[in-house]
Amino acid sequence: MRRPLPTPRAEAPAEGGIRVRGLAKRFGARTAVEDLTFDVRPGEVFGLLGPNGAGKTTTVRMLTGLLRPSDGDAHVWGHSVTHDGESLRKVVGLLTEQPGLYDRLTARENLRFFMKLHELDEATAWPRARHYLERFGLGGREDDACGSFSKGMRQKLAIVRTLVHDPRVIFLDEPTSGLDPESARTVRDAVAELASEGRTIVLCSHNLAEVERLCERVAVVRRRLLALGPVRELRRAGQALDVRVEGDAEAFRPALARLPFAPNVLLEGGRLRVMLADEAQAPDVVACLVGAGARVHSVVPSQRPLEEVYLDLLKDEGA
């Protein structure tokens, strides 16, 4: 059964942030992304979710001015992705899936290169870089060649490079990939801190626990937008009611099936797990059970983890 989910809706355009309207990208006959519409506010951490090949990277590339949209438009911190490529790239920071460092160059040289590309005054940009280097545990390694760095160190240096020009909008593709738990936590803290400074952050990740922890809202894409909304709301869309009744719980399934909204009912460990589209349906479920003669011992509402909701979404879309 397909549960109703928050649907894409046009929100008020943010002054900063990101505003996407009908964005599409085609490579020849192949459509990578179609009709994406969403907004991301300044100071928001926004999750962009989807399976491999769903169009997340293509979307990010359009929003960072690397690819031209085939249709639609988007504004990133007020800069059109179709018309303001150079000014757009000055305000965005992109952490790609691969760190993409110059191995023969030292960490300092790698960062200096990007400072130069952004035409920054190194005297003011270096303290910021040093701050993040220290924070990510790379202090004292500035003059080591990147080729000698571990995978985690490379990832952390790539994050510093992403931040070196003080971007207003930051796109992070799997930012904690390859990091140990402590470093991953440092990065998550840094992401939250960057958002609290008013920056817009778009997080692409398959680590849904991390997305759940960091993001206020998420978009689930598979070529097109499958769902968009606050994580809380998405999880509520997959809300379940765990009901413990006296006696044979199975006996009450037919009664529940007669409810007008016909909830999906599972029997789990002697309890009834009733899947609801809306928490307002809970009293009807209880009334129905009582009406069928059940002695209800407990009713516990539980939200499913984002991962379960996400997988259901993709399953529904595939079906």
Binding site: T64, G100, H118
Partner: protein
Amino acid sequence: MAFRPRRAMAVFWKDSLDLRKNVGLLLSMAVLPMVMVTVPIAVVWTYVSQPDHSDLRTVALFYDPTLPLGASAARFLIDKSLTDWFGMFLVMPVFIPILIASQSVAGEKERRTLEPLLASPVSAAELVAGKSLAALVPAVLMTWFAFALFCVGVDIVAWPLVGAPLMPNALWGFGVFVLAPLFAFFGNGVAVLISARVSEARMAQQLSALVVLPLVGLVGGQVAGVLKAGLAYYAIQGAVVLVLDLVLLAASIRLLDRERLISRWG
């Protein structure tokens, strides 16, 4: 979009730094100048060491049947070798940028550094300018340095026969200071163009290196006596290469477009 020299210089700075740390590439770059300098010096030395060898006159008459009886065949062949060798010497300013530019453009794809680079404000023209400078400057400097060694070597070896400095002469001066940068630009342009189309630096190098074949062919024609090299001959070559350079420059900027690079290789 306005061209910002600072950003082009940033690319030049990074690529030059990367090149200085790439020992393998530096060594492979040094081999060609060594060959280009030592081979002609050895040839001149051969003529100087046996100036009266009867076979020299036979060879000289093959190239110039009007050679006066009293003229030194060895001296004639030294002059001819130096003139012809210049065509071969031009392989160096073409080949060195190919080695560097192939690494710097296709290498960015291989190392997955292209996407972060293209996500910066640098424009295609700035990228081409920076990467081209990083390939051209070492190529031209190496050519000039090799030319200086070549002049000294030839003059030392030829002195016992000629008694005066042979090098530099007008043809070589014109060639090294005017034609060599044009040829270097050509080699770089071809490498940038091919690098933008292929995924591996090695493949880019191999394909780009094919452009030296026509040059070698021309030298072959000179040695076979079919082509007569001289200032006008090289000036025509230079004019043709100048036109090709302009075409390659426009094509490189077009091919280093973000969309193309990313959708193909990113």
